[in-house]
């Protein structure tokens, strides 16, 4: 039969058995024990529990647990473990960073990912250069056929608004490159010589960038597609010097097909994107790779050393 007393009484009895009650509590509880059989039964239950625990088998250790010098020596080398673990963790983190860096820059893979990711600035440069390419041979050749070929190539390469016709015509520009190229082809001969400033005006008119990088690309890149032949309506002041500095360029440009020129321009844009931004990070990546290699070597030595110690 199980006694049924309150948790407080049970706790008092538990402490009473272990002589953990104060003098007054002890006296009070003993008085109650004389008067309450239920409380006495609960006390006996607690005593039985203690008896079972006390009577249970005391086990002897199955063998001696003395430590050998070998165990102690192996343990003595353990303070090196945290350093090696840290080296492994750092190597892993740096490896991940290098992978991410490679992905973002495309340096080690050889793929100009940044150039292909086509930031707006690069697209603007391409459009601007294409506009200049499309307009430049027109007064020299005075033939519609090369202009048509160029327009076709441009329409395949960059389907973006072309500013070629805006400097000469007052009519609103067409947003379609093929259409502007047709216009350029049909009216190529009588047009004035386009310059880089004309292209910049076209860009501003179309609202395609006009950022500092794009303008710098235009002004810094001499276009050998024009001759020093004076024209009535063009504004040759900003480009006069660069044009005179490259007198042999017009012949070369005349020999090249327009599509090839556009491809060259695109390659130049891609190279510029590849060899400006990533080169800044390349040293950082090389540094990380060197650190990664050092940490990996340290982890390898740690693994070999640990194996030997154990």
């Amino acid at each position: 039969m199980i006694s049924n007393i309150s948790p407080g009484d049970w706790e008092s009895l538990s402490a009473y058995v272990d002589y953990r009650l104060s003098e007054s509590e002890h006296t009070l509880l003993e008085g109650r024990l004389q008067a309450e059989p239920e409380l006495q039964r609960a006390l006996e239950e607690i005593r039985r529990i203690k008896a079972v625990a006390w009577y249970a088998t005391r086990r002897r250790a199955p063998h001696n647990y003395t430590l050998s010098p070998r165990q102690v020596k192996a343990r003595a080398a353990s303070p090196l473990y945290p350093a090696f673990r840290l080296a492994s963790v750092l190597a892993s983190v740096l490896f991940a960073m290098v992978l991410v860096g490679d992905f973002l820059t495309g340096v080690t893979s050889g793929v100009p990912i940044l150039a292909r990711m086509a930031p707006p600035q690069t697209a603007e440069i391409q459009v601007m250069e294409m506009a200049m390419e499309a307009a430049a041979p027109a007064p020299l050749e005075a033939e519609a056929e090369p202009a048509e070929q160029q327009a076709d190539a441009l329409s395949m390469a960059a389907p973006s608004p072309s500013p070629t016709e805006s400097p000469v015509e007052e009519s609103p520009p067409s947003p379609f490159l093929g259409e502007s190229a047709d216009v350029a082809a049909n009216q190529a001969a009588p047009y004035p010589l386009p310059t880089q400033s004309v292209a910049l005006e076209a860009m501003e008119e179309y609202g395609v960038g006009g950022g500092p990088a794009a303008k710098a690309a235009v002004t810094e890149t001499p276009t050998p597609t024009v001759t020093p032949k004076p024209t009535p309506s063009a504004t040759p002041e900003p480009v006069e010097e660069p044009l005179r500095a490259a007198p042999a360029a017009p012949e070369q440009q005349q020999d090249q097909p327009p599509a090839q020129a556009v491809a060259d321009a695109q390659a130049e844009v891609a190279d510029r994107a590849l060899f400006t931004i990533p080169y800044v990070n390349r040293w950082v990546i090389w540094g990380l790779e060197g650190l990664l290699l050092a940490l990996a070597g340290m982890a390898l030595i740690a693994a070999l050393l640990t194996r030997r110690l154990r």
């Binding site: 402490a15 529990i49 079972v52 625990a53 086990r59 002897r60 003395t66």
Partner: protein, 205 residues
């Protein structure tokens, strides 16, 4: 703490392995019993005891006086807690030892028999031991620890509080609740106790 023990501890703190091993021999039964009652298995208790002594040697410089017995029991109790937590994450089925006669698992606990006892006494002790361990295994870890420390290892409340780093009042209330659970679990095994431990009611009858 005896002067001999204090000297051994001091020597062990200075790296004397022989001195530490003398301490190990003095306390290994106590530590092993604590581990066995906490874990309920001989193999796990063996591992926990070994780990506890290795850890004790490793950290003996951090011992700052007080009861060396409590310090050792705290280490082995923590080792058992770690193992029990690991088992709760990856539960396994423990294996009973193989019977040398038929090479099958021994379902009864007769492999624990002390050869110095009579067969009847040995059987009763084994059954009581099994019942006790069964009830201990059913307790929460904190309750089991306090029952083992106080009722099996015979520590007082202050020592137990020092081992488990718990206030004295918590030890008192936790032990009372643990005993209440043990009472419910141990119903039916009282008759296995020797006559000296029988119930008052039975003696009155």
């Amino acid at each position: 703490m005896s002067m001999d023990e204090a000297g051994l501890i001091q020597a062990a703190q200075q790296g004397d392995l022989t001195a530490f091993n003398r301490l190990v021999l003095a306390y290994q039964d106590l530590v092993y019993n604590q581990a066995y009652r906490m874990m309920g298995e001989t193999e796990a208790a063996d591992d926990a005891t070994q780990d506890a002594f290795i850890s004790a040697y490793k950290h003996i410089r951090s011992y700052r006086g007080g009861s060396f017995k409590s310090w050792l029991l705290r280490i082995v109790t923590n080792a058992c807690y770690d193992e029990l937590r690991r088992r709760k994450r990856r539960p396994t089925q423990p294996l009973e030892p193989l019977d040398p006669e038929n090479n099958e698992e021994m379902e009864s606990a007769r492999w624990m028999v002390d050869p110095g006892e009579s067969p009847e006494e040995a059987l009763e002790r084994v059954e009581l031991d099994r019942a006790l361990q069964h009830c201990l295994d059913g307790l929460p870890d904190d309750f089991r620890t306090i029952v083992v420390l106080v009722d099996i290892q015979g520590m007082d409340y202050t020592e137990a509080a020092e081992v488990i780093k718990t206030p004295l009042g918590t030890v008192k209330s936790r032990l009372a609740r643990a005993r209440l659970r043990m009472r419910d679990c141990l119903q039916g095994v009282w008759e296995l106790l020797p006559t000296a431990f029988r119930l008052v009611e039975e003696r009155d009858l």
